[in-house]
Structures are given as structure tokens and as C-alpha cells.
């Protein structure tokens, strides 16, 4: 990255334009790439994954005028190449040396109450589905999910995807509930 380079609105607009001429689609692509970069750094064990993802994006942004003229290919893969360099630098700076965070304490009652509230807010069919999906253990769980998928008239993989979406919705709801609780 150019030394002392600071992202500008103009550079950001150029980046979006490179991702897609349609502004709305470009915005969606930007968000998706950022999310994936955060996941990538997280999978590599980096504690500050969001910061490293933003650093990678800034580096691409700094070169985007040139890239738009010379780079042919999937932009996401260019981001990957840059992110990999950022990761190697991160390693060299020894930030990664495992300072394992302590195992988190068991969830407290407030979090549990938030989950109860969030599950209560689900539509009844989703509430029942998610509870049934996560019931049982090992083979009984596999059989249970197969049965549930049959009842819903969908494939087991479609059921996995549906249950995961509800889970993410619940987790976000619990986080929002806890944040609200913290503010109060």
C-alpha cells in the first residue's frame, strides 16, 4: 500500500464500480467479500479478523484504478491474494503466537432469558422445527433429522440450511437482547 495512504470516498466509489457497475449490486458484493475475509482471518486464528479484513480491502482500494484497467478475473480472488499477504505479515509480526483466550464461562441467566424471548418471537412452525432439529444425539439425531425432513417434504440438506438460518437469526437476536440489557 502507498505509504500514508488514506482511503477516500473517490477510491471507495472506484472500488464499488470495479466490483459492479450497478451501485446496489456492488454494495452487496463489497459486503459479501468483507464478510468472507473476516471469516478467512478468523479461520486462520487471527483475533482481530475484522481489522485485517479492512486492511486487505484498503490495500485493494489503493490500487483499484490500476486494477480496473489491467486485472482480468474474479475480483474476490484478487482480494484473497492480498489477504494472504496481510496474513503473512501478521504472522511475521508475531501477533498470532497463540495467546489462547480463556475458555468462556458458562452462559449466564440473562443470556438464557434472552434466548427464551427470541425463540418465543419465532413463528410457531420455525420454533418447533429448530427445537426438533437440535434434539437428540448421534444416530438418534441423524434419524430425527431425516424424519423431520420427510415430514416437511424437503431434503436433509435443505433442512440443514433452513435450520442454520433460524439459528443465525436467533443468535443475532440474543446478541441484540444482551446489548440492550447491557445499556439498561
Amino acid at each position: 500500500m502507498k505509504k500514508g495512504w488514506v482511503p477516500t470516498q473517490e477510491a471507495f466509489d472506484s472500488l464499488l464500480n470495479w466490483l459492479d457497475p450497478d451501485r446496489e449490486r456492488a454494495g452487496q458484493k463489497y459486503e459479501t467479500i468483507r464478510l468472507k475475509l473476516i471469516k478467512l482471518f478468523s479461520c486462520r486464528g487471527c483475533c482481530d479478523a475484522a481489522e485485517l479484513a479492512d486492511e486487505s480491502i484498503n490495500r485493494v482500494m489503493a490500487k483499484v484504478e490500476e486494477l480496473a484497467k489491467t486485472y482480468n478475473g474474479e475480483p474476490a480472488l484478487y482480494f484473497y491474494g492480498v489477504a494472504h499477504k496481510v496474513y503473512l505479515e501478521y504472522l511475521r509480526e508475531s501477533h498470532l503466537k497463540p495467546q489462547l483466550p480463556p475458555t468462556p464461562p458458562p452462559p449466564d441467566e440473562t443470556a438464557y432469558e434472552c434466548l427464551e424471548e427470541c425463540i418465543h418471537q419465532l413463528q410457531e412452525e420455525n420454533r418447533e422445527m429448530v427445537v426438533r432439529y437440535y434434539q437428540e444425539e448421534r444416530q438418534a439425531k441423524i434419524d430425527n433429522r431425516r424424519r423431520l425432513a420427510q415430514e416437511l417434504g424437503i431434503g436433509v440438506n435443505a433442512l440443514r440450511i433452513r435450520a442454520h438460518r433460524i439459528r443465525i437469526q436467533l443468535q443475532k437476536c440474543v446478541e441484540a437482547c444482551l446489548a440492550q440489557d447491557f445499556v439498561q
Binding site: L100, T103, P104, G153
Partner: protein, 248 residues
């Protein structure tokens, strides 16, 4: 790549078991394929659940704690998985899986059952009309036409009753609107006592499919029939709802 194989590779990546080259290949797919990224997220959640449920091997558990749990985001995911597990354990939903469709039918309203009874009498009359004159030949066909009951438990379905035919029985199934006749692969016949047999389709038109049950496989009792359709991914899936039949 088969889904299970893909899941195994993703789990290996998440636990830090893959080589650098393999990890980079995974990461490139993660960046360029949205579906693959989605699969990675689902597999990650499953891995956390397996850890919480004590379903990992000791090696996996060790890698999970040393490699996987390194970030605050994943620690939050672990917390959430524990919460969800606690909730599910304290709010079990027991579906009456052992209840037969016949028991479920008995739970229907009286009005519905009376209406079904009247229909059944009419059906018996029609069936007798066709079946009795052919009783002397085992190869002759009695025919019955059935309509699917809505829902998974034959809710609202009408059980048709007819005498046990002495010959083969041709069953014509009226298809629900969302099922195209060419997608119907086979029919599963579930006897009241729980035995199951699969039959191929012998005829089909725009609104129905038919199958023939040999007389040797028929006896008095209650039956439910389920359509099995071929889905776009090549798997065979049952259609919601059942066709109900009683042979007396």
C-alpha cells in the same frame, strides 16, 4: 464433490488439520463460491455443536480448543451453542411417531368421519359393482380411485373402504396440484400393522398415476399409500399426505 466428503474437508480445515496448500484451496473457494461459503458456515456451527455435545474425538477436541477457539467470535458461537442446547434439552418436543395413521384418523372430527362413512358406503357399492362379477378370475382387476389427504398425517384425508377383492387391485391415485405425473417414481404402501412395500407405477396420465397390487399381496386391513417423487437432485422424496384405503 459429494456433500459428506466436502463437509469432512471443511471440518479438517476448521480444525487446522489440512496442509497449507489444501487450506489455500479451501479459502479460494470460500471467497469465490457463495454456496461453498454457506456450507462452511453450517459446518462450523455443527462442529461447535459436536464439541458442546461431547461428540468429538479427543484429538478433535484438542484441536478445537487450541486452534478453533482462538477468536472472540467463535467463543461467542460456543456460548450460543451451549445456550441453545440447554433450551432444547428443557423443551423437548415429542412427536407421536409411533401413532399409526389409523389412530390419527380416529382423532379426526365426528363430522368428517361421518362424511367419510357416507362416501365409503358409496365407494363400497361401486367397488362391489366392479369387483364381484370378476371374482371368479384371480387376474381380473378391481379398481379404486383415491384422493390424497392433506398434511403429513392424513389430516382431513378420507379413507375409502371396499371389500377385499379376489383378484388384483388397481389403485388410481389422483395427484395433488403440485405433483407432476412424470415425477412420480414409485408408491409406498404402508399396511396398518406397519409393513411397507414399494410398487412401480403402471399407468399415468395428466392427473393420475396407477399401480396394481397382486391379489397375493392383499389382505383385509387398513392401508396408507405415499407417492415417492424424483426431485431435481435425483433423490427420491415422499410427497406430503397419504391416500387411505381399507379392505374389508
Amino acid at each position: 464433490m459429494a456433500l459428506n466428503h466436502e463437509i469432512d474437508i471443511i471440518r479438517g480445515y476448521l480444525l487446522g488439520q489440512l496442509s497449507e496448500e489444501q487450506s489455500q484451496a479451501i479459502e479460494q473457494r470460500m471467497l469465490s463460491e457463495d454456496d461453498f461459503f454457506g456450507e462452511l458456515e453450517i459446518t462450523e456451527a455443527q462442529l461447535v455443536d459436536d464439541y458442546v455435545g461431547g461428540c468429538l474425538t479427543s484429538d478433535e477436541r484438542d484441536q478445537f480448543e487450541k486452534h478453533f477457539l482462538a477468536t472472540p467470535e467463535r467463543q461467542q458461537n460456543l456460548q450460543f451453542a451451549r445456550l441453545l442446547r440447554r433450551y432444547v434439552a428443557s423443551h423437548p418436543i415429542h412427536k407421536p411417531a409411533a401413532q399409526s395413521w389409523w389412530q390419527q384418523w380416529e382423532n379426526q372430527s365426528w363430522g368428517l368421519r361421518v362424511a367419510a362413512g357416507v362416501t365409503a358406503v358409496a365407494i363400497i357399492a361401486v367397488a362391489l359393482w366392479f369387483a364381484v362379477p370378476r371374482a371368479s378370475s384371480p387376474d381380473t382387476l378391481a379398481t379404486v380411485t383415491l384422493t390424497i389427504g392433506s398434511g403429513n398425517r392424513a389430516e382431513g384425508g378420507v379413507s375409502q373402504t371396499m371389500p377385499l377383492p379376489s383378484g388384483n387391485l388397481k389403485i388410481v391415485l389422483r395427484l395433488p396440484d403440485n405433483v407432476a405425473p412424470e415425477t412420480v417414481h414409485q408408491v409406498r404402501l404402508i399396511a396398518g400393522e406397519g409393513t411397507t412395500r414399494i410398487f412401480d407405477i403402471t399407468e399415468r396420465d395428466a392427473k393420475t398415476v396407477s399401480l396394481v397390487i397382486p391379489s397375493s399381496q392383499l389382505k383385509r386391513g387398513s392401508y396408507a399409500l405415499k407417492l415417492l417423487v424424483l426431485s431435481a437432485d435425483g433423490t427420491v422424496q415422499p410427497v406430503n399426505g397419504s391416500y387411505l384405503l381399507t379392505l374389508e
